[in-house]
Every structure is written in C-alpha cells, then in structure tokens.
C-alpha cells in the first residue's frame, strides 16, 4: 500500500550543506566592507545644561562685581571730599573743637 506523504517524516531537514566555518568568514567579509563607512555617533552635547551653567557663571560674576563695587563707572565717592563736606556742615565751634583735639594727632598728621 502506498504511504501518504507526511511532513512530520521529514520535518525541517534539508539536503543543503555548507563549507565549514563559512558563516564566520562571511561575517569577517561583511565587516571589512562596512567598517570604514560607519563611525560611532558622537554623544550629543547637552546645550541647555551648557547655557544654564554659562548663564549662572555670568550672573555670579556680575553680582560679585556689584557687591565689591569694582564695576567700571561705579567708583566709590572720594572719601576726602565726603569728609570735607561733613566738616564744612559743622558749626564753627565744633570745627574749632575738632581742630584743637586732632591737630597734634600723630596718625592724622603723618
């Protein structure tokens, strides 16, 4: 009696063979072809963080300049002029008193 064909009898067997190790060689050949064409992508610079840090540094610098009064055009008023102004605002009696007290002061007359 003729046997009906049954796929299970063969399963996935195939008559094809390959030379030994050819798939490894194939991998090498493909890599030789593509290795110069593909370069690792550079990591993207985080520009927002970069801007945030730069902005912070600029703000801190300006604050320091303001605190220590070293911004150009923001000069301290002349101390001597202020002193002269304060002295001239005093009464004559007070002026005489101060002159009497300090005219012999060693440190002021240096």
């Amino acid at each position: 009696m003729k046997k009906e064909f049954d796929f299970n009898r063969i399963g996935k067997r195939m008559p094809y063979t390959t030379p030994e190790g050819f798939l490894d060689n194939l991998e090498k050949q493909v890599w030789e072809q593509v290795k110069d064409e593909v370069k690792p992508s550079k990591p993207k610079r985080n520009y927002s963080l970069w801007y945030f840090i730069s902005g912070g540094l600029v703000a801190a610098s300006v604050t320091l300049l303001l605190v220590f009064n070293i911004l150009p055009g923001h000069q301290k008023p002349d101390d001597f002029e202020a002193f002269e102004q304060a002295f001239s605002n005093l009464s004559h009696a007070d002026q005489d008193y101060l002159l009497t007290v300090y005219q012999d002061d060693l440190f002021m007359n240096q």
């Binding site: 195939m14 094809y16 890599w31 690792p40």
Partner: protein, 171 residues
C-alpha cells in the same frame, strides 16, 4: 539593536550577525539553492542592512525588515538567472534542483520535498518557507512580501496542497 548599532557600530554589527546570519543565509539558500549565490546574497543583504540601519522605521518589525531585504537579494539573484522574476512568477524552469557541490543527494525524500517547493510560484514558495521553516505568522510574512495576511494564508495552503500532491505522485 538598532540603537546599539548606531552608537557602537562594531558591537551592533556583532549582535546583528549573531542573531540573524544563520537565518538569513538559510532563507536565501532555500530560494536560490546554490551555495555560492546564497553566500553572495547573504553578504549583500548584511551590507545593505548595515548601511541603511538609520533609515529603519518601526512601521514593521526589525526581523521583517531584515527578511524583506534578504528576500529582495534572493529575487535579484533569481532575476539575474532569468530576466523576469516577481513574486507572481512561476519559477518551474529556473528553479530546478541544480547540481551543487553543497547538496546532499543521498536522502531522496528530502530532495523531492525541495524539488516540490522549488516548483511552486515564488509567492507560494515564500509563504510556505517562511511559515514552515521559520514558523512565522501570516501577518509577518505579509509584511515581508508586501502582501496581506489573507493572501499569504491562501498561498500557504495552496502550496501545501501542491507539495502533498507532488510528493504522493513521486513517491
């Protein structure tokens, strides 16, 4: 894998080859039969995959995309043999089991099964091979062949019937 391959090409390449080189080679080999042709088509497939990795869009699965490229390479080889191969063509004449150094002719039933498959139109061959050997679903085969799941299902069942008839006739 795509992300790794873009960031670290060599690592991605090794992963890709480790996962797909066997499967791709055998898929192509079943279609073109000759080892030399299958080797050429497999090599070209991976070169193309690697060159166009950044163009991969997740409209279909990565595996479907790879098999689609491999199928196109196999069809290109068949096309070179005869100037008219599309998925609808019958490859009866061009796909006869050619003499090849890397075919074991000792198991006649296995040889006959391959002859039966090779006698199918390319569309049915693809549906049968991808379902029977690769155990893929109809949807995935449809994504590879640019068809519909219903059409693939129909092609597979027709192919199976034809193979059984062929095998019973040539028993």
């Amino acid at each position: 894998m795509v992300v790794i391959a873009v960031k670290e090409p060599e690592k991605g390449f090794r992963l890709l080859m480790a996962k797909y080189k066997d499967a791709v080679y055998w898929h192509i080999r079943r279609l073109v039969v000759s080892h030399d042709d299958a080797q050429d088509a497999t090599q070209e497939t991976f070169v193309r995959i690697f060159r166009s990795l950044t163009q991969f869009k997740s409209e279909c699965s990565f595996r479907s995309w790879i098999y689609r490229i491999a199928t196109n390479e196999a069809l290109r080889i068949l096309n070179r043999r005869q100037d008219r191969v599309s998925l609808d063509d019958s490859p009866v004449e061009l796909n006869s089991m050619m003499a090849d150094e890397y075919v074991d002719y000792s198991d006649l039933e296995v040889i006959r099964l391959q002859q039966a498959i090779l006698a199918l139109p390319t569309k049915q061959q693809l549906a049968f091979n991808l379902r029977y050997y690769n155990e893929m679903g109809y949807d995935e085969i449809a994504a590879i062949t640019g068809s519909t799941a219903d059409s693939v299902k129909s092609s597979y069942h027709i192919a199976k019937e034809k193979i059984i008839r062929y095998m019973n006739l040539n028993n």
